[in-house]
């Protein structure tokens, strides 16, 4: 379809040029021609390691094969790209990327700020589970693509009697100095709330149990890092237990590192990631960015991409990877989700910064 449009527009353009000033008389034709002209490349922000590899295999490569548009992955941290996009939109500049692969929480912050394009018209959106579309917005400022679980990852050799049953294991003196969390505590706040004796009803109103539990964890001298750190630390024998996203633990295991994971009795935090397109792109680039996001929702792309990540996609009818079939950390049915801890995105948007700050305060104190 694109090729056809292009050739037509080209012919129109040539005719217009031949007719001299006729181009001035047909501005609409010119605009339309420009709108669908293919850009040389699309820039998609992604996370490194297993994340970008899966995206490339599942989405970007097939997209390039289909359209001929190269896809470049920008590995700037999601937190670092956000202010750049915000500044670009504020100043009316062209944003630095075409598609942002982002946590749903951060994506929602951008949506609230009004820097996201409306994705409502994308054909594949109809095929996705309802959870793919965020609530409470006019239009669709972002599309959630898959959910993921912050599991309790552990070194098998340290647990000869089987996987730990409770997050209390973090307080075991045996593991003092040998546990790890994300450096802002992301994925751990609700878990701490339950492990500390509180309930999900207390989020965000009464989170004292969570902070008490995190204070006890602090006494255990945890290492604090980001995705790639967990793999390194497991590999170097620095840690035995960590709270990290399943994909990291699975990637480490696939690389021959002695790592397994479990969903303890308190549950694990489940969350979603999505994609959105910043405002301010030239018309044709916006068009192809939307094509990219639409393609990411296709059966083919969802299957390959989310299998690579080891995460359940938000499109019905996907086949789970063999090693994760029936794994409680790979939720597919409503019962699976029962066991997990989910915090509404609106609550996260409003309070997560405070939780980060509070977590930081405890850990740096």
């Amino acid at each position: 379809m694109s090729e056809k449009t292009f050739s037509v527009s080209r012919r129109r353009l040539l005719t217009a040029t031949a007719a001299g000033g006729a181009m001035l008389a047909a501005p609409w034709a010119w605009r339309r021609a420009a709108a669908q002209e293919k850009p040389r490349e699309l820039i998609v922000r992604a996370w490194g390691g297993v994340w970008v590899d899966s995206l490339n295999e599942g989405v970007s490569k097939p997209f390039t094969e289909m359209t001929g548009i190269a896809v470049r992955h920008d590995l700037t941290e999601d937190n670092e790209i956000r202010p750049k996009i915000w500044a670009a939109v504020d100043q009316g500049r062209v944003p630095p990327i075409h598609v942002n692969w982002d946590t749903s929480t951060n994506a929602t912050k951008s949506a609230l700020r009004g820097v996201t394009e409306d994705l409502a018209g994308l054909p594949n959106l109809k095929e996705m589970l309802p959870a793919a579309t965020p609530e409470g917005f006019d239009g669709v400022p972002l599309v959630n693509m898959y959910s993921y679980v912050y599991v309790l990852a552990y070194r098998e050799a340290a647990f000869p009697d089987g996987p730990p049953e409770s997050w209390d294991v973090l307080l075991d003196p045996r593991f003092k100095g040998r546990i790890a969390l994300y450096d802002d505590g992301i994925g751990f706040h609700p878990v701490a709330q339950i492990a500390g004796g509180g309930t999900m009803a207390g989020v965000p109103g009464d989170m004292q149990p969570a902070w008490d539990f995190i204070r006890k964890v602090k006494e255990q001298q945890p290492l604090l890092g980001e995705d790639p750190d967990f793999t390194t630390w497991f590999q170097n024998g620095e840690i035995d237990v960590a709270c990290t996203i399943l994909s990291n633990a699975r990637a480490a295991r696939q690389n021959g590192i002695d790592v397994a994971w479990t969903v303890p009795k308190e549950g694990c935090k489940v969350d979603t990631d999505g994609m959105w397109i910043p405002k301010g792109l030239p018309g044709n680039e916006l068009h192809w960015a939307k094509e990219y996001v639409n393609f990411a929702m296709s059966q083919q792309a969802q299957q390959k991409w989310t299998s690579g990540l080891g995460l359940p996609g938000l499109r019905p009818g996907l086949t789970p990877p063999e090693d994760l079939e029936g794994d409680p950390a790979f939720p597919t049915s409503p019962e699976d989700f029962e066991r997990l801890l989910s915090v509404p995105t609106r609550v996260l948007v409003e309070h997560e910064s405070d939780w980060f700050q509070k977590f930081n305060e405890i850990m740096q104190g």
Partner: protein, 321 residues
């Protein structure tokens, strides 16, 4: 190429005619009557650079006075001191600031203590091979970036690192230095050492070896010579090296980030977290302003205490004797 130039054929060599051209261009841009201003012209880049830095502080100051609006994730339009209040009331910032300042003091003292004998040996040795060895061992890590070096330290200090392999071999209990404050300090001292040595070496070169010999012949033991002669005469270098090491430590990000295991953040980490984790540019700017103030205050106190002369501006003439 050459033929086209000869075609115009004034017979003068190409090089000279090129010079004529440059000369004419200079006359156009900077006429001869401006000559008295020429020395100031050379100052211009420095002034521009400093001015740019100072100008950069203005938007920072502006942002620091505008608290974040959580509903839109924009900074408020009206000025308020909310961000500074946050800094003052949240104890975590006091802890981080104190930790950073302490690191600045400890790292500066330790680096100077190690760098001084190193620089002295490098300057004074009679053996060319030893001087070369010292220089190479100084520069080799200099070319390896801070991040790579930090990871190198982790290989040494890690739970299954070289240090513990050594301790284990000696039948000693393992250490757990990696991801501690001590590890951050060790990494910083090693990172700062070349800077300090490079700033001390010229200062020590400026102290004639005869002065040390004279002191010894007048009855001073080596430590007395160090204390009464070398230390005061090398003071410009020591103060300059101290200021550089202190400010670099104060503003360091990578070392605490990588070697601190997440629990030993410095002010720069807090700035990063504010900007990117919390998305609160106002708070980050307030932290940045605070860091700038603390650093400037310390350097100001040092300069006020030792005088500008310590940088060699006033007493430089003395070296003539």
């Amino acid at each position: 190429m050459a033929s086209t130039i000869h075609d115009k054929g004034a017979g003068r060599p190409v090089g000279l005619r090129l010079l004529d051209l440059l000369e004419a261009a200079r006359e156009l841009l900077w006429p001869a009557r401006m000559a008295p201003l020429t020395p100031w012209l050379f100052l211009l880049p420095a002034v521009l650079l400093t001015g740019l830095l100072a100008a950069g502080l203005i938007p920072l100051l502006d942002a620091s006075l505008r608290p974040l609006d959580r509903a839109t994730f924009r900074l408020a339009e009206d000025y308020a001191l909310g961000n500074y209040a946050t800094l003052a009331t949240r104890p975590v910032y006091g802890v981080i600031a104190l930790r950073t300042l302490m690191a600045g003091l400890i790292v500066t003292a330790a680096t100077l203590a190690l760098a001084f004998p190193y620089a002295w040996m490098m300057v004074r040795t009679q053996h060319a091979w030893l001087r070369k060895l010292l220089l190479v061992s100084l520069f080799l890590p200099f070319f390896i970036g801070q991040v790579v070096r930090a990871y190198g330290w982790l290989i040494i200090l890690g739970k299954q690192g070289l240090l513990n392999a050594l301790l284990d071999g000696l039948g000693l209990p393992p250490s757990s230095l990696a991801f501690t404050y001590t590890a951050v300090l060790i990494g910083l001292v090693q990172y700062m050492l070349p800077f300090a040595v490079l700033m001390l070496a010229p200062a020590l070169t400026a102290v004639p070896v005869e002065v040390e010999l004279a002191s010894a012949s007048l009855g001073a033991r080596p430590f007395a010579t160090f204390r009464h002669i070398l230390l005061p005469m090398a003071r410009p270098g020591i103060v300059a090296a101290g200021i550089v090491v202190f400010t670099l430590t104060l503003t360091d990000f990578a070392m605490p980030e990588i070697m601190g295991g997440g629990g030993n953040d410095f002010i720069a980490s807090a700035v990063y977290d504010a900007f990117f984790q919390l998305g609160d540019a106002g708070l980050g700017a307030a932290l940045g302003i605070g860091l700038t103030l603390v650093g400037s205050a310390v350097v100001g106190v040092i300069l006020a205490f030792f005088g500008l002369g310590t940088l060699g501006y006033v007493e430089g003439r003395e070296e003539r004797s």
